[in-house]
């Protein structure tokens, strides 16, 4: 699939690459169903979605996707253990009320969790705060501080720390540039945390849950 440099959701292709063909996938915060559709077309997955907005759910249902109106904070608790191979949360973690609970539920419901989020450690974000003394507004984080759904922003390092706290294993991690393409350099974490505008992680449970 050729990428449109103006499409801010190029992380979808990166996520799709992490999914094994034919698997069962739950996309939490699936929006208009673009990722689920991509996964159905390219990976032949059995996909399900959860989306908060009525218009998003309607678009998904009209596309033939199985999507439920709900959100990551309140509805994940009702899913049984091990129902899916992958649970995906793309560009939604920062908008959840309890990111830690959301992650924990994802790792309970799916054998793998895939999370993408805007990196608050990016140099552009840092300079806006450090030099201008203003809350950062960037291409990925375009809302002003008083009118944003993004209530739990974090940096790549913050996220990695939370994953370790939850006892999960990072099977794959990538920092993405502003267009969603992976930064293809072997660099230490602090470089990624500085240069990546977004990040995508594939997580696994470290040990079988009791």
């Amino acid at each position: 699939m050729k990428q449109d440099p103006l499409n801010p959701r190029l992380d979808l292709d990166v996520i799709a690459d992490l999914v094994t063909p034919g698997s069962r996938v739950l996309d939490v915060g699936c929006g208009d169903g673009a990722l689920l559709q991509l996964l159905a077309q390219t990976k032949n997955v059995d996909g399900r979605g959860v989306e908060l907005s009525q218009s998003g759910v309607n678009e998904c249902v009209a596309k033939g996707l199985s999507v439920i109106q709900g959100d990551a904070d309140t509805d994940l608790a009702d899913y049984p253990d091990d129902g899916f191979d992958y649970v995906i949360l793309s560009q939604t973690l920062q908008a959840t009320r309890r990111p830690r609970e959301a992650l924990r539920n994802m790792l309970r419901i799916g054998r793998h969790a895939i999370v993408s989020f805007p990196n608050f450690g990016h140099w552009r974000v840092r300079t806006q705060l450090a030099i201008k003394g203003r809350m950062p507004v960037t291409g990925n984080l375009s809302n002003s501080w008083h009118d944003t759904p993004n209530i739990h922003l974090c940096t790549i390092r913050d996220f990695v720390e939370l994953v370790e706290e939850l006892g999960a294993h990072i099977a794959h991690g990538a920092a993405l540039d502003r267009y969603g393409s992976p930064i293809r350099v072997n660099a230490p974490w602090w470089i990624w945390n500085l240069m990546g505008e977004q990040a995508v992680f594939l997580l696994e449970r470290r040990a079988p849950q009791k």
Partner: protein
């Protein structure tokens, strides 16, 4: 499938299509009764395709009937789902073969308490067996067998119709390709039972009810049934809709009369609803259909775990709730969705914004319309249905 050598097809004027299953093919009810012979009145719209893969069964609500679309031959009004059923509408009669039958226990041509009891040659009255939602669905399956249809492309319905949809999906999973339970619940709540009981007591308190034997005595408990309908009608609306439509507006007068006349428009409206209802509905039928809803608790048949009712189902579900519906609130639909999820079913769920209360599913709600259309189209693609039969 049942052998229908004794089933009789009849066409008799305003009752539309009917089929009668003879004495040895009647319906054994959950309560241990038997309804034989059993007549089912039904209506169809559109054409059944060659491989019989485009049939949709619509299940009507409490006081609905088989006339889902077009002009109702008895009331002269449009059918209960005319907003949704017809050429080019979501339940597209150019594309699908739509079946709708009057429930057993009803009063629009199917066997019910007003039918003649073959044992006494008098109307059944309260001797009619108490029927359940599952009995209604079993009767419908006999009709579907009779029509020679193996798998229904979709079973859809709201309220009591939605309960039948859930029962269909649980009882005959292999015969239901897709299902739309709308504004409904997997069990009747205490509040729902309470409202129904008020209605039934209103009917029974009418001296003309005569212990259910009013037909033989040439009277009808119209006042009681009208009161039952008035109280029920309030539960179908929302506070916001009542306020918007009526508020405290007075009926054809500029000042209150300080009497018990229908001073307020809302009173006049409810009285009209009550009167219109008694013209088309049998009071005993009302007792039986409300009772069927009260007994509905799908999980109870599956060890109390609703998810087990849908275990390993291949049916595609689309569950719809309306945010102002307080009779079958969104939480009821969510319980269904959770059970379907737990069973690993393919399920979509939408809560439609509307201030019209429970009745919203019967009205033209553009978002509901779009959801239904999208769901059916995707299911049709999965089923390999061609775009049109034309």
């Amino acid at each position: 499938m049942t052998n229908f050598s004794h089933a009789q097809q009849e066409q008799n004027g305003s009752a539309g299509k009917t089929v009668t299953f003879s004495s040895d093919q009647g319906l054994l009810t959950d309560g241990g009764g038997a309804i034989a012979p059993l007549t089912l009145a039904y209506e169809t719209y559109g054409k059944l395709n060659e491989n019989k893969s485009n049939a949709i069964l619509l299940c009507h609500a409490l006081t609905g009937d088989q006339y889902a679309a077009g002009v109702h031959p008895v009331t002269g009004k449009t059918g209960w789902w005319d907003a949704m059923v017809g050429p080019g509408k979501p339940f597209d009669t150019d594309r699908y073969f739509i079946i709708c039958s009057n429930v057993v226990g009803g009063c629009m041509g199917s066997t019910g308490p007003a039918s003649i009891n073959p044992r006494s040659s008098k109307p059944y009255g309260l001797d009619f067996p108490v029927v359940t939602i599952r009995d209604m669905v079993r009767a419908q399956s006999m009709l579907i067998d009779y029509l020679g249809i193996d798998t229904l492309f979709c079973v859809a319905g709201g309220s009591m119709g939605g309960m039948q949809v859930l029962q269909w999906a649980a009882s005959y999973p292999q015969r239901v390709f897709s299902a739309m339970p709308i504004a409904t619940a997997a069990k009747h709540s205490a509040q729902n039972i309470a409202f129904h009981e008020v209605g039934r007591q209103a009917v029974m308190a009418d001296p003309d009810w005569r212990g259910g034997r009013y037909l033989e005595q040439g009277v009808r408990p119209e006042k009681g049934l009208a009161v039952a309908r008035m109280s029920a009608h309030i539960t179908y609306l929302s506070e916001a809709a009542l306020q918007r439509k009526f508020g405290r507006k007075l009926q054809d007068r500029s000042a209150p009369t300080f009497s018990f006349d229908a001073d307020f428009q809302i009173e006049n409206y409810l009285r009209y609803q009550g009167l219109a209802f008694v013209e088309r509905f049998d009071a005993n039928s009302y007792l039986f259909v409300t009772r069927a809803c009260d007994y509905f608790d799908l999980a109870a048949d599956y060890g109390g775990v609703l998810a087990r009712a849908f275990k390993e189902t291949k049916t595609r579900f689309c569950v719809v709730a309306f945010d102002s519906d307080w009779l079958y609130p969104t939480s009821d639909s969510r319980s269904i969705v959770h059970a379907l999820n737990a069973g690993g079913a393919s399920v979509s769920f939408v809560e439609i914004e509307s201030d019209k209360g429970h009745d919203a599913f019967l009205l033209h709600e553009p978002m509901f319309n779009a959801t239904t259309r999208g769901f059916l189209e995707s299911a049709a693609a999965a089923r390999g249905l061609r775009d049109s039969l034309k």
